[in-house]
């Protein structure tokens, strides 16, 4: 029987006409944004499927007798019996600098009412991560502008650093501040006219968030003048799970364009917990076997294949990088949950935010013990490395001693000094949102702390003193800061200038 149909097929193909050949199928069931299609015998995995009324779908389940497609558009216009056609294309999104300053949906369509995006290039949403050969180890810093992060858990270009914590602990704030700081550095670098300056372009992927939250983020970025370096990919909670599942991959494809063209990019996935939930929803509707917490068996692969696409490429491959800051929301501080442990094992470190610290007013609420960066000081400039080398240890010792000192009334001098130093560092690291500090000013503040300039200031006044020193260094102490910025080192003459600036400040501070 099949030989007969094959015979007719060949006969038709041999005729020289403008006839088109398409592989078709029929919708048999339609539920929750997923269509089961009978037919489509030549469909490829992840291929775009064309449904009536310009609705697109993606073939995700290729089964013996049917194909499971997730639908990306308005499904209300579709019905059982409608025809579905293969397109021969994988889902692609527009990429390039044309997307900067724009807000797009999961398939790269504009959502901001600023007109069409005239991008010349498109990249497939699903791509294979760079292999071993084109990669290079991470050694260039990516400054977040947050002292607690830059000093204790430094991030490098091409690194994957997880931001993890309970709800309302400041996870998004850290990511947004990092983006704002990149814009600040980009503007400073472009103004300096340095030909070797490498700007960092940012992509913020909002998955399953409230539209109000996304709008607030856009407003914050616009207010700080960072939007011109940012692309926002939004798949809000009201969007169908297929779009929420696709958004991180689309954002990653946009970031990869910068990386492959020798530029640096930063991508924030906010957040991957909701992404896993959207994927679980799709998988359950597709009737894939469920495992732990009803997640499908390939939920690890879902995130590993996404985060592996962030890399630092070597000179032969263009020297570009894509840094990823995935966000994971924990429940009651439990980092041993299924999705958190998966993502912790994939990433190169994590910034853990504690609810208790947040409620005590220590913001950013970075937990010293649980936060780590596997890249370490390789992603710090030499000057900063010199002044921030011991701070994590000092703070960790302080937290431990502080817990024990609650029961002890009589403390020895060394313990008292450690507690004193720790309390001052805690105050020093307190920083308000959308207020990033440049690396040279951070170096100056840390240097002042290491050289005991804060010791005579009451603990309660340390934060005010930090603000004051910051303002002083940005204005009168500019010369020392400029030396740190240009050389990246803390040489003897730089240290001399720094000392005189800090001493001047100390005299004026009351």
């Amino acid at each position: 029987m099949s030989s007969i149909t094959e015979l007719i097929r060949k006969e038709i193909e041999s005729l020289s006409t403008d006839a088109t050949r398409t592989n078709v199928g029929t919708i048999t069931t339609l539920a929750d944004g997923v269509a089961r299609v009978d037919g489509l015998s030549k469909v490829m995995y992840n291929e775009m499927i064309q449904f009536p009324n310009n609705v697109l779908g993606i073939a995700l389940n290729l089964e013996e007798d049917s194909v499971g497609c997730v639908l990306l558009g308005d499904v209300s216009s579709l019905k059982e019996g409608d025809e579905a056609r293969t397109t021969g294309k994988l889902l692609s999104v527009p990429v390039g600098k044309e997307l900067l300053g724009r807000v797009v949906d999961a398939v790269g369509r504009p959502m901001d009412g600023k007109g069409a995006i005239n991008a010349e290039t498109t990249f497939p949403v699903e791509r294979i991560a760079p292999g071993i050969i084109p990669r290079k180890s991470v050694d260039q810093p990516l400054q977040t502008g947050i002292m607690a992060v830059d000093s204790m858990v430094p991030i490098g270009r091409g690194q994957r650093e997880l931001i993890i914590g309970d709800r309302s602990t400041g996870k998004t704030t850290i990511a947004i501040d990092t983006i704002i700081n990149q814009a600040k550095i980009n503007k400073q670098g472009e103004a300096s006219g340095d030909s070797n300056f490498r700007p960092v372009f940012c992509i913020y992927v909002a998955v399953g968030q409230k539209n109000a939250n996304v709008a607030r983020t856009i407003k914050t970025l616009e207010a700080s003048g960072a939007m011109e370096y940012v692309t926002i990919v939004s798949a809000p909670a009201a969007d169908n799970p297929a779009n929420q599942y696709l958004a991180p991959y689309s954002g990653c494809a946009m970031g990869e364009w910068y990386m492959e063209n020798g530029m640096d990019a930063l991508i924030v996935y906010d957040d991957l917990s909701k992404h896993a939930v959207a994927y679980r929803q799709i998988s359950l509707i597709l009737k894939r076997p469920s495992g732990r917490e009803a997640y499908p068996g390939d939920v690890f692969y879902l995130h590993s294949r996404l985060l592996e696409r962030s890399a630092r490429l070597n000179e032969n491959s263009g020297n570009g990088s894509l840094t990823a800051l995935p966000i994971i929301e924990t429940q009651m501080g439990d980092v041993s949950g299924y999705i958190p442990t998966n993502v912790i094992s994939i990433t190169d470190g994590q910034i853990f935010l504690e609810t208790d610290l947040f409620n005590k007013g220590i913001r950013p609420a970075v937990s010293v013990g649980l936060s780590v960066s596997r890249v370490g000081s390789a992603a710090q400039i030499k000057a900063y490395k010199k002044v921030a080398g011991k701070v994590k240890l000092e703070l960790a010792q302080f937290r431990e001693l502080a817990a024990f000192s609650q029961f002890e009334s009589d403390l020895d001098a060394t313990t008292k000094a450690s507690l004193d130093r720790g309390a001052r560092i805690v105050e020093l690291f307190k920083q308000t949102a959308s207020n990033p500090i440049t690396v040279e000013v951070q170096t100056a503040i840390m240097w002042a702390m290491q050289n005991n300039f804060f010791d005579s200031i009451a603990v309660a006044d340390v934060n005010r003193a930090t603000q004051s020193l910051r303002e002083y260094m940005e204005t009168q102490g500019k010369e020392a800061c400029q030396l740190i910025y240009s050389s990246g080192k803390l040489e003897e003459d730089t240290e001399q200038k720094l000392r005189s600036s800090v001493e001047d400040w100390k005299r004026t501070f009351s």
């Binding site: 006409t17 088109t20 050949r21 037919g39 015998s41």
Partner: protein, 132 residues
């Protein structure tokens, strides 16, 4: 659907074909009668799966030809002759119909493949090139 039901449906489907590989109405009736007599558990599920398999097979035996104009007798017989001239074409049924939406041209559906050259398909290609 359980593996047991799947294998049963496969057997029922096999027994609906005659010696030349064509689904025969009498054989299908026999299968349905047998099921009615035995009344197996999950009767409805088995019947639905059987229907789906039969539908699929019938699709393989059918060539749907849609034409933009009303097909005249000679056109239809030429098409039928062409199909009949092919080896063991007894398993293939030709269905010729008119589809005004095509405006002019043809559309042939062979199982999952659609071969089309019509004004409608050209207009839709043109429209896609403008909106892409």
């Amino acid at each position: 659907m359980s593996a047991k039901i799947k294998s049963l449906v496969r057997e029922l489907h096999k027994s609906s074909f005659n010696k030349v590989g064509v689904i025969e109405e009498t054989l299908v009736e026999g299968v349905l009668f047998g099921l009615r007599e035995v009344k197996p558990p999950r009767h409805m599920e088995i019947l639905k799966a059987y229907l789906s398999e039969i539908r699929k097979s019938l699709r393989h035996q059918l060539v749907e030809v849609e034409l933009g104009c009303l097909p005249n007798e000679s056109m239809e017989s030429t098409l039928k002759d062409k199909i009949n001239s092919m080896a063991s074409s007894s398993a293939i049924e030709l269905q010729v119909s008119q589809n005004d939406n095509l405006i002019a041209g043809y559309r042939i559906r062979l199982v999952d493949d659609v071969f089309e050259d019509s004004i409608q398909s050209r207009l839709s290609k043109l429209s896609q090139s403008f909106t892409a």
